[in-house]
């Protein structure tokens, strides 16, 4: 963006040119309120003259009787507002602040650290070039400092400034500073930060903020602001391998077909040959289109529209690269996850995964271990709870193009999304692809499902009964099987209790075990239906996610969800196996309807009211409904 120099206002034009040419530094601040983080940010805003008169006036009023610096202002008031937020019940997470100096524009991700620090810090760090790690000089390196630093390394923040604050409160003692810095450096060594500077400051009094303080003659480095203005954080992403995730197919008319997106890394020029990661098709860049005119060359970070010299099949989610420098293309990889939801993560549960512009169903196939973010210890895990970090393997329903996060954050960072609520549940960074997946293909045989179904003269299907214990699922399934058998059809009942005696003998009743229970039964049902059978599955299956999983495992096989809706009072009164009584007595834990939830189906094909009719009538109703459907 070059500004025309307008003769009338040469000074203004020069100043504006300087404004537009500034570079941008995004950083985040880690530390709790006690470390003086709010005061530090407030001071940065104040010193860069981002505080306006009307704000300043009210600030001075509010600062009365508070902890003030030489200016008579409590800087923390500039950014606080947190108590008010708390009263309003607002989630306190990442807030963004802006300030700028003559050299740079800054975007600060301010992540209040008390609750949900992992989630908030990971979010703030994901777009940051640099982090300020605040330490109270009186307290030194704390567990929290280590925790913050680990999360920074996990998200891949490369540059750290250790801000040893409140140096005035330790009488500007260089020994205190040196001790803290030495301890931190030793700890941070394995975390692989590219640069690590340490600055003694007093945010309240302004020492070493804008200029070196006369009160710390033993410190010879730059003040915090000059340091932030000068540090080179550019990764030179244009020198990396070319990656262009296609975001939107630009097709205004039959004569123009372009692929719009932002270069995640690398550079590209007209005449270069590119390769589509999924189809391995090649083409040559014929134009780089922007509204400001065609370019002959584009670099990382630029949003452009590429035109290829020939018709190749490219759509949203495809990744363009160069021949011989392609991203990984696989349906399995290992990753580190930061979990961000109250609802824990389980192996076997199905999620949606988004990386770049690709969205695919995905499953955590293995929970390898959890990392204690305070001690960095690795322990076995069956689930990932809110704010925990774990190493997992993930399988996607179809192959996706990606890089390891260490080489490319934009093609190696992903989120997992809940399939029903669409909430963002967790964020992950890909370690490496598991190539094994590429060699594993499905065998196809000549005698297939159609042949077997034709022999039996029936359409295979899965009828999935869900409902509380005692709702009448098994009775109805039993009666339905009898009628089908009498008609000469081949049906089979998979019953919850029976399966748990055999195939799933190793599984308990925790949420993780229930997920695996349903996954196995879903797979068995699919195999049986593939063999041509009508499979009646009678399982409490209390969770929507797992019923959805079973439906997905069924794939192209007809899947009918039947909800046997019987009020819990009725089920408990029936109590055919005496289970409710035992659950009420506390002898059985995690009993559905008592101390474990039943998520009422919202997508059931058929609802049978178990309290209103006898099982025989309900079985007839279901039989007729199935008959009418086929």
């Amino acid at each position: 963006m070059n500004l025309p120099l307008r003769s009338a206002d040469t000074d203004v034009a020069l100043w504006l040119q300087q404004q537009t040419d500034k570079s941008l530094l995004r950083f985040l601040t880690c530390g709790s309120v006690d470390d003086g983080k709010s005061t530090l940010i407030g001071r940065l805003l104040y010193d860069s003259q981002m505080v306006l008169d009307d704000q300043l006036a009210s600030l001075k009023r509010e600062s009365h009787n508070r902890h003030v610096g030489d200016e008579g202002i409590d800087f923390s008031l500039l950014v606080d507002g947190l108590s008010a937020e708390r009263e309003q019940g607002i989630t306190i997470d990442v807030a963004y602040r802006f300030f700028s100096t003559d050299k740079r524009k800054f975007i600060v991700a301010d992540t209040p650290g008390h609750e949900q620090y992992t989630r908030n810090m990971a979010t703030g760090a994901s777009n940051a070039d640099l982090a300020l790690v605040l330490i109270d000089a009186r307290k030194g390196v704390l567990t929290q400092t280590r925790r913050h630093s680990f999360i920074l390394s996990l998200i891949g923040v490369k540059h750290v400034v250790l801000v040893v604050n409140k140096i005035d409160l330790v009488d500007y003692d260089s020994d205190v500073f040196d001790r803290i810095v030495a301890e931190y450096r030793a700890f941070a060594e394995p975390l692989g930060f590219k640069t690590l500077a340490a600055i003694p400051v007093s945010a309240l009094r302004g020492d070493n903020m804008l200029a070196p303080s006369p009160r710390t003659p033993w410190y010879s480095g730059a003040g915090l602001v000059p340091y932030l203005e000068a540090i080179d954080v550019s990764e030179d992403r244009s020198a990396e391998l070319f990656r262009f995730p296609v975001q939107w197919v630009n097709r205004p008319n039959l004569d123009f077909r372009g692929f719009s997106g932002t270069l995640a890394s690398g550079a590209i020029a007209v005449g270069d040959e590119v390769l589509v990661a999924a189809s391995r098709q090649r083409a040559v860049i014929s134009r780089i289109v922007t509204m400001d005119g065609d370019l002959d060359h584009a670099v990382a970070g630029q949003a452009v529209t590429l035109v290829l010299d020939r018709e190749v099949d490219v759509s949203r989610g495809d990744v363009l690269s160069r021949q011989g420098e392609t991203p990984e293309y696989s349906n399995q990889f290992q990753a580190r996850m930061v979990w961000m939801s109250q609802e824990p993560a389980f192996a076997g549960r199905s999620y949606l995964l988004k990386v770049g512009a690709q969205i695919v169903p995905a499953t955590i196939t293995d929970l390898k271990f959890r990392t204690n973010i305070n001690t960095l210890e690795q322990t076995a895990a069956t689930k990932i709870d809110l704010n925990e970090v774990a190493t997992v393997t993930i399988a996607t329903d179809k192959p996706i193009a990606f890089d390891s996060y260490a080489t490319n954050a934009l093609t190696g960072g992903f989120i997992l999304v809940d399939r029903l609520s669409n909430a963002t549940l967790g964020a992950g960074t890909i370690d490496f692809g598991l190539r094994r997946a590429q060699n594993l293909t499905y065998q196809s045989f000549d005698v297939n499902r159609d042949v077997r179904a034709a022999m039996k003269g029936q359409a295979p299907q899965i009828v999935w009964f869900t409902g509380l214990s005692g709702s009448g699922k098994s009775s109805i399934a039993n009666l339905l099987e009898k009628r089908l058998t009498a008609e000469g059809r081949h049906a089979y009942i998979l019953d919850g209790d029976n399966v748990r005696h055999g195939l799933n003998r190793d599984l308990g009743f925790t949420e993780a075990a229930r997920v695996e229970n349903i996954r196995r039964v879903g797979e068995v049902a699919r195999l049986m239906a593939d063999a041509g059978l009508i499979v009646l599955v009678s399982f409490i299956s209390p969770f929507r996610n797992e019923r959805q999983l079973a439906r997905e495992i069924a794939g192209d096989i007809s899947f009918v969800e039947v909800y046997v809706d019987t009020p819990i009072e009725v089920c408990e009164a029936r109590d055919p196996k005496g289970l409710y009584k035992r659950a009420r007595a506390g002898e059985i834990k995690n009993f559905t309807g008592i101390d474990s939830p039943f998520e009422v189906p919202t997508a059931a094909e058929l609802v049978l009211h178990g309290a209103e009719q006898e099982p025989a009538a309900l079985a007839d109703q279901l039989h007729d409904w199935l008959g009418a459907r086929s």
């Binding site: 963006m1 537009t20 306006l52 997470d93 030179d236 123009f256 997106g261 670099v299 990386v355 934009l410």
Partner: protein
């Protein structure tokens, strides 16, 4: 010349374009809010860039309270004509029938009926699943933690407790039927960024932003322009011509002017740099009640 890193304005522009494309690619019925002000003008410019050479693939929606400056409406129509986008203008029909106005009903009630409710009506009528707005995080405290893709439930309400974490540039655009998304592509821009970008890109603005002689009255320290004959003068009050301009545009009886001689973009920017009061001070709507922006957002205001 090969540039390996972008300036901050180039980076902001690219980020906004990426967000706009993500909306077009991920939603079935997006719409872009068009309020005719400088932020909207930047947004319009970015949308033209994002989809070039295609037309902007969604309509622009203007919620017309009927109390906008006359020049804004003329400017709006001229822009639609010039850039060939689909323009939808909506006015709350009940509000219109009941002659809801800022003089008789007060700014708070007027805003609720003619803006917040009108917006909801328009969004429902269009069954829009994504509404793009020009809000920025530097504008106001409660905006500082707003997401770029901000989820709204079926009644357009913002539930701060269910805000989705946003990492990298991976935006979660998934919604259930009936829900919608508010999208803010210029979240990371500051007011100065907006002005320097307008200058650098030569973006057209309504002349209301530039100082001219305009008929104004002064009420409790705020200069209000008498834009048409509907303005109710108080006894003894006569409009006088003053050299003024506006820092934000909205409903003329609710928008304060500032005394200024800045008649060109560079002058405005210089004046703004020297000025020491925040942008929203001229917007009467925000000072109506404490925490009012937060409240309006939960009710569905942008």
């Amino acid at each position: 010349m090969q540039r390996s890193s972008l300036t901050h304005l180039q980076a902001l522009e690219a980020e906004s374009i990426e967000i706009l494309r993500e909306v077009a690619a991920s939603f079935e019925r997006p719409v872009m809010m068009y309020s005719i002000g400088k932020d909207s003008s930047v947004l319009l410019h970015l949308a033209r860039k994002a989809f070039f050479p295609s037309r902007i693939p969604f309509p622009l929606l203007h919620v017309n309270t009927t109390w906008k400056f006359a020049e804004m409406i003329a400017f709006r129509d001229a822009m639609a004509e010039k850039h060939g986008f689909d323009l939808i203008s909506h006015t709350n029909p009940e509000g219109l029938a009941n002659n809801i106005n800022p003089f008789d009903h007060g700014s708070s009630r007027f805003t609720d009926i003619m803006k917040t409710q009108a917006l909801r009506q328009a969004l429902d009528a269009g069954r829009y699943d994504a509404a793009i707005g020009g809000a920025r995080r530097d504008e106001e405290k409660s905006r500082a933690k707003e997401r770029i893709f901000s989820h709204r439930n079926a009644s357009h309400a913002w539930d701060p407790k269910t805000q989705r974490p946003e990492l990298w540039r991976v935006f979660n655009t998934r919604i259930n039927p009936g829900e919608s998304m508010r999208v803010f592509p210029i979240s990371n821009w500051t007011e100065l960024d907006v002005w320097t970008y307008i200058y650098a890109e030569g973006i057209e603005l309504p002349s209301l932003y530039y100082a001219r002689l305009r008929p104004v009255v002064e009420r409790s320290g705020t200069l209000i322009m008498v834009d048409d004959e509907r303005f109710r003068l108080e006894p003894g009050e006569t409009p006088r011509e003053e050299l003024v301009r506006f820092r934000t545009l909205g409903d003329y009886p609710l928008t304060g002017a500032i005394r200024s001689s800045a008649a060109s973009l560079p002058e405005i920017i210089m004046e703004m740099q020297a000025s020491r009061t925040s942008e929203r001070e001229g917007r009467l709507i925000d000072s109506d009640s404490v925490g009012s922006m937060e409240k309006k957002k939960q009710e569905g205001y942008f």
